[in-house]
Symmetry: C2
Subunit: 348 residues, 2 copies
DNA sequence: ACGCTCCGAGAAAACGCTTTCTCATGATTC
DNA sequence: GAATCATGAGAAAGCGTTTTCTCGGAGCGT
């Protein structure tokens, strides 16, 4: 029991500002001032405080700090599915960029449950200084209503009517047209668009783009096939694709294209000799498929870091509601080996 | 300055508990009681409070709540690189499992900067109720010192001497031996291990496993080649692999294997006819490479959800320092098409 | 020397919530 | 019918910071 009196409450309580204050023989206000360098403090006292803080390994409690300052130095991101490489990339870019400015990222995965997205976003917003929202399937009306309550908000691949919410989007319509154009210029005449989830905003954009393409190329046959947004749905479409008789396939995205590639390979259909396949997004794996995938590259890494920049701008100009940048990226064609001129069709 | 004028920033202030209390004509204590259902409240009053809360769309401020309760309902995860599918999967599993219990995940990407990991982890811990730490390269001594300060802590692929920190690990030594064994039983006699980052704990485990393999199979030639942990490093090793003359390649992980696969394909080396390649991890893409990759599957999805379960156990039994589970997973062989019997070597 | 301004540090208020403490009121018991 | 109890709501004390307010004391000019 020699050290019985030393029953440290340290064991159950973390060291707080009060402990430092006591040790340094000053008030906790002064400790705060020293730690934040906000007001002028006598250099001697400051040194004493710093010494005490160092000795006790004092680190301010962020929760107390957040309450007092009204900010958490944290932003939230809502994604529909963390298994999707696109969102992974956005998350990563966002997290790294935000970290550079001393911000952290809280993640909310809606697991594709559209009805949860608004709730998750609201919750995230309450905990954080802002929210990045990826909600491709949320109804327009709901988004429009939700957006103002979330302010500092950055939208990914969605826009609102009000122009005070910055948004980052990709011109999917343009990209899919260029891909179709690419196939046509290789000599393909029968194309299939293997579409994504029905209510996805970006799928709608692709459809609009393809309508335009059709108008410009009435001579080209373009079929629509329903699909999903992942590997498996691409794989499952293999038979339908083969049955379609088309030689050029526009897959919804790289994931779908890869699933299809693997399905075709299993069936002994050669790519690109028998069928050409294109993806969309240019996820990191796209250039390592066999054959490497022709795709429309969206600047997947930039997206995250730009999202942070837009967020930071809003956080800094807190209050004023100015009109915000609406960034739109044009995808860059990435021509690889999964597309080529079609074999000469036997006259039929 | 004019005090009265500045007095209320009510205009942009969020609705707080006080507003609800005023509207319902009760004290804010009562509002809190109603919201949390903690104590008995007169049903009539409770209804009035709920009505007021609903009308004002009141949602308790989580920061205030956290300060009062001493918990944030948030856990942190520290990962070395969010671009790595393994960590993405862990993050995803963790996030989904935690969400089910009403917890959120804060992410900290150390960007492979080992020296930052301890700081990030500490910071995360202060903001959260616990930390999941993935720090494959952190020095043992540093980890040992850091662990107690982080408690509620779950370690991934690392262990501490003290047994009160739960850890989840994969038996990489076992897995790599089985892969080597698989190649040998196919008839390969000259193998190469394309190693990962030098200071990676899991790489060391593989090396230990291979030492054992060597002891048991003195007749097999097993070379070591230095590499990294991603696509590009696999791709860059292509020449060295070809030059080695080996027919069976044990890549550090699936990423490396995929990079190598693509390199070999470019060079016209056929897999598995000319060279067999194995990966490790069984990331989702592994079964879609051409040829599909033989690999040692680690239950990548379970890892995240189990991490949460271990974390929750600790959070619940706050205080008592009991000895914690050390989970070790044995990888499951996933034999696909990237391995086959070697072609008969020309007598040389 | 006297009053003036500055400066720096402690006291106290604020941040938004939960929870203990306290006390009134009405019900229960002998 | 008085004493005891249970009930439920308000007052107030935290939680750990930052920041405003206040005030003593030092420096300066006249």
């Amino acid at each position: 029991m020699g050290r019985g009196h030393m029953a440290r409450r340290n064991t159950n309580r973390r060291v707080g500002i009060a402990d430092v204050a006591e040790k340094a023989g000053v008030s906790h206000a002064t400790v705060s001032r020293v730690m934040n360098g906000n007001a002028a403090v006598d250099p001697g006292i400051a040194a004493r405080v710093r010494a005490a803080a160092a000795e006790l390994k004092y680190q301010p409690n962020p929760v107390g700090r957040s309450l007092a300052l009204g900010k958490t130095d944290t932003i939230g991101i809502v994604v529909p599915d963390l298994a999707n490489p696109t969102f992974q990339a956005i998350l990563r870019g966002l997290s790294i960029a935000a970290a550079q400015d001393g911000y952290r990222v809280l993640i909310a995965d809606s697991s594709e449950v559209t009805s949860e997205e608004a709730i998750l976003a609201g919750e995230a917003r309450r905990r954080c200084d802002g929210v990045v929202l990826c909600a491709p399937r949320m109804a327009d009306a709901e988004l429009e209503e939700l957006a103002p309550t979330l302010h500092p908000l950055v939208l990914i691949n969605r826009t609102t009517i009000a122009t005070n919410t910055p948004s980052l989007s990709v011109d999917y319509g343009q990209g899919i047209q260029e891909l179709a154009q690419h196939l046509v210029s290789l000599g393909h005449r029968r194309l299939v668009f293997l579409s994504g989830p029905e209510h996805s905003a970006s799928n709608r954009q692709r459809l609009v783009g393809l309508d335009q393409f059709r108008a410009e190329h009435p001579e080209i046959e373009l079929q629509m096939l329903h699909g999903g947004s992942n590997f498996d749905s691409g794989h499952e479409s293999t038979e339908a694709i083969i049955a379609s008789g088309a030689t050029g396939i526009l897959a919804f995205n790289d994931l779908v294209a890869m699933g299809l590639l693997s399905g075709l390979h299993e069936r002994g259909v050669r790519v690109p000799e028998d069928i050409s396949v294109t993806g969309f997004d240019d996820i990191p794996f796209a250039k390592y498929t066999t054959p490497p995938l022709t795709t429309a590259a969206v600047p997947i890494n930039e997206l995250g870091s730009l999202a942070w920049r837009r967020m930071r701008e809003q956080i800094q100009q807190a209050g004023e509601t100015t009109t915000q940048a609406q960034d739109e990226f044009s995808p860059r064609m990435e021509i690889r080996k999964s597309t080529a001129a079609p074999a000469l069709k036997p006259a039929s």
